[in-house]
Subunit: 343 residues, 2 copies
Amino acid sequence: MSKERPTIADVATRAGVSKGAVSFALNGRPGLARTTVDRILAAADELGWRPSNRARSLSVSKAFALGLVITRDPGVLSSDPFFPAFIGGVESVLAPRGQALVLQVVAPGEGEEAGYRRLAQDGRVDGVFLSDLRHNDPRIDLLTSLGLPAVTLNRPEVPSPFPAVCLDDRPGTIAVVQHLLELGHRRIAHVAGPQDFVHATARTEAFVSALAEAGLQPAAIETSDFTAVGGIESTKRLLALPDRPTAIVYANDRMAIAGMGAAQQAGLRIPDDLSVAGFDDSELAEFVHPGLTTVRADPHAFGEAAARTLNQLIDGDGSAVPDVELQPARLIIRRSTAHLEDS
Amino acid sequence: MSKERPTIADVATRAGVSKGAVSFALNGRPGLARTTVDRILAAADELGWRPSNRARSLSVSKAFALGLVITRDPGVLSSDPFFPAFIGGVESVLAPRGQALVLQVVAPGEGEEAGYRRLAQDGRVDGVFLSDLRHNDPRIDLLTSLGLPAVTLNRPEVPSPFPAVCLDDRPGTIAVVQHLLELGHRRIAHVAGPQDFVHATARTEAFVSALAEAGLQPAAIETSDFTAVGGIESTKRLLALPDRPTAIVYANDRMAIAGMGAAQQAGLRIPDDLSVAGFDDSELAEFVHPGLTTVRADPHAFGEAAARTLNQLIDGDGSAVPDVELQPARLIIRRSTAHLEDS
DNA sequence: GTGAGCGATTAAACCGGTTTAAACACTCAC
DNA sequence: GTGAGTGTTTAAACCGGTTTAATCGCTCAC
């Protein structure tokens, strides 16, 4: 019993055919007699043979892997509820197909471009996910010039050569604002994410337009950075305003939870003195005190759809792959938002 | 200007030598005249040639990649502060060496073994990180039989064929207990992680022995699951005890933050009525209200050390690779722990 | 009986590197 | 002038698959 794994030649010998025949049988190509195919598959089975990924990679010039470059500060990435679930969704598509996921975490600015370049030039992956899409995202041109297929998570405003998989954040944000309006709030502020991100501006615009719909202006808009520290600083500034807002809509849960902490620290009761809403429905949102009203998307489904779409693009014949529109995020009402107490 | 990337043959032609010579020059093998090496390297440079990973992989039977299988429920993985930073540390070692990181997220129980098996049989990786080490971890035998090199994060109690990279959680836990003792607490409870995890029992044992040192018994020990829901349930049970504990030490921040929420919900003030401590120093720990006293490790350094050690093992000549002991976790005191108010 | 036509099969080239063994050029000793 | 020895270089095999072009064995038509 040899320890070496069998090669295609071993299978060929055992089945009494040539290497080529085994390859044909394995890939289900026509031109082989049914009986021969069966004999070959049986022989492969008995030997426990599985084709070598490396050899296949070399001869067909494919990596059988997809890439994800996460451009974030590791500190910021911590406790981000999106990626783990997204990756889970991606894996659920890749695993049955025998594909792998290659992950890169790079700090913003430094090394992002190099990261994609390495992935492409080393032939590590057959395509990549473009997450955290930015306005005029330079990565689109970069990937085009590298010839690396990609799928964008959400849609860039300029026409892009890549299919987009979209999860619309606006309905959720609009629902938050309407919820607060129904509770009687009129001075509503927003703590936004960095405005170079497409999803951040989408939330901000939805916030503004939902208010406009009701004939109102934002009490204030703070542009922050999705981090806890950022959330706190913005919250402090908002609370120091002469006409303090009665409700704050945060662009993510992390800023919301941190902001809630800051408000409580400042002696405000939530939701009595201040209503707070987040975005993401991260695990802790339900369990902080008070439970955070927020917006829930489905990052797992996002990952599945993105992986499927990217594979379509890679396997396809060059014809356009249609964009995918996912179920939009929806409002989850908890205890951090309440009826406005008349002052 | 052709679009095809140059191959080693192109370089050889341009430098007027054979393929073999180019290979020798690139890998810095002796036996080539210095002038020839220079000429070859110059030619490679002019053509912008980089050796094909796929071809190299096939001929040297290496993947130039490491694998990480995360066995967790995607929901539980969310907001885990360890992995993003750990992965960041790993990448910082892999990137300069041109290695990639292959990630797999599998749900507990189902598919874990298959995950490692795939990684090994497909030859995707040259070694893996064994995280979330369990007692009598079946993965150790599995990997041994698969012939896949590995590094364990923390040390299994039975002798293992793999080097271990360890970050001792005990000093941090002991420091928490001592801190609470100094504050006058005597009825201290513990919410532990699942006791099949090595790091979970390490924290529990440290908790018990630190109390024993002071001649005390734990007020209670709840075995939970590291999740927010679990933390809440355990907290409720602890608060319902006839002799309610005055302080609770949680095995991670997530349970601590959720537990704090539950206690507040129940009308308790923290830290006046109940002191609370966590473990991890996740991003939110500093910013929830009140700020969470916790224990900070350095997952980034953990990742670096693990990657370096795994590479040593892979590149090595079969001689044993020494274990690595990292700087232990240390106490971060915030507002959630306070002097015991005499009742 | 011969050649065309067709399905089944195979030999060999190929992907792009690494590696081994042999060949080569050159100096030096005898 | 020959042989041994040394330092360079190369041809060719190899890794394990895929793919192309050629071959083989048949049947069938004329």
